[in-house]
Symmetry: C2
Subunit: 231 residues, 2 copies
């Protein structure tokens, strides 16, 4: 079995690796919004030929992370305040409904998943700007896991998938909000409230707390946009 420098995931394809690498670079901002993507650069970034890179871009384009201009190449999808608002509005709708269904259908095991995921997230320290980025990524992962756990009992694979896709889309914007200095609101308290209300099966208060949580996040990022774009 041949091994490459950047060993491919066992059993996977190079195209899959390219997808993961480019996706990650876009989410992290390493590839900036609107930036043109040249095959030569992506090939050296991924360490492979043009074919799998192109396949990765086809997938990314189908998911809206990149944009394809026929015969003129690809570029990273731009960010905009309008899109941020739109994403949040739809997350409020979709995740609100998903949480409602989860509370309705969730069993004791669901409760314990939520509790466990919240605990793991709360244990990761998340103070101010000067935290190491490795720890930030760790918190991001736990945060995502917590939200997934919340919705995990909704019983609708499609709804879950839509929520997941919007979550990832929102990630590029969330990244901006970490640079906000005086995080006045208490994210941890919001999370805790959502968790408690959910487990206590107080459906509508829980849903409302989740929706408010998204609105708050959006408002914070929106302020950033208005004070001139980042970079």
């Amino acid at each position: 079995m041949k091994e490459r420098d950047e060993a491919r995931v066992a059993g996977g394809t190079l195209a899959g690796d390219a997808y993961a690498a480019i996706h990650r670079a876009i989410r992290s901002g390493e590839l900036a919004p609107g930036q043109r993507l040249r095959f030569a650069e992506l090939q050296s970034l991924c360490g492979m030929s043009v074919t799998p890179v192109r396949e990765a871009l086809a997938r990314l384009t189908a998911e809206g992370f990149t944009i394809s201009d026929d015969h003129r190449g690809f570029r990273v999808a731009p960010l905009s305040l309008a899109e941020l608002r739109d994403i949040v509005a739809n997350r409020r709708l979709l995740e609100g409904e998903a949480l409602r269904l989860s509370i309705q259908n969730g069993d004791a095991e669901w409760e314990s998943r939520v509790l466990a995921a919240h605990h793991l997230m709360a244990r990761v320290p998340r103070e101010r700007d000067d935290i190491p980025s490795a720890m930030r990524e760790e918190w991001d992962r736990k945060h995502a896991a917590f939200h997934r756990a919340l919705l995990s009992a909704c019983g609708s694979p499609i709804l879950l998938d839509l929520c997941e896709k919007l979550f990832v889309k929102a990630d590029r914007y969330r990244r901006m909000s970490i640079s906000i200095p005086g995080q006045s609101r208490d994210v941890a308290r919001e999370h805790e409230a959502i968790m408690t209300l959910s487990i206590e099966r107080r459906t509508e208060p829980a849903v409302e707390a989740l929706r408010a949580h998204y609105q708050n996040t959006a408002d914070a990022v929106q302020r950033l946009f208005e004070d001139g774009r980042e970079d």
Copy 2:
């Protein structure tokens, strides 16, 4: 400028043509649910080399129309009663909200678009089984246009996009329902009711009519499933 037998769309790419051709074949049932997709066959179907076909499959897979098993090829995504139910449940949620927003935001031009689209659809005769398939396709197009017009004023590009994707996903199931013999319910009347209520800005009745419309369609197809799978 070189021209091929199956002339590519002006300015487009072969990969784009392959995507359209395979997508169409799947929607029409020419490529059956679950069927394995061999590159040799697809190449002769599309009349091109493997690379653009593969790119098309990557896109289709990202959208859920095909499934990729690494190193084992692709197959058409299967249909199931569970998925049908899930699609309908989510369409009720999403299109319901989109219609609500459309009624809220729509101006006179929106009203006229809805009216016009409904008229075009109503003019296409749609009797029983023995209608020519060309006419059925015509009706399908008008039907899709009517639903799009209804939601077109919702103001949320993302919500519109999600609705469109679910609509296309549902299309494969809708195709089954045409073979239902005693269409007892009156689809035309349902459409008319939705249109009238919407234009009269009777928001909640309109939304409820739309949601019932989907539920009825789903129930009809579901009966088909239970009487043994088609084919």
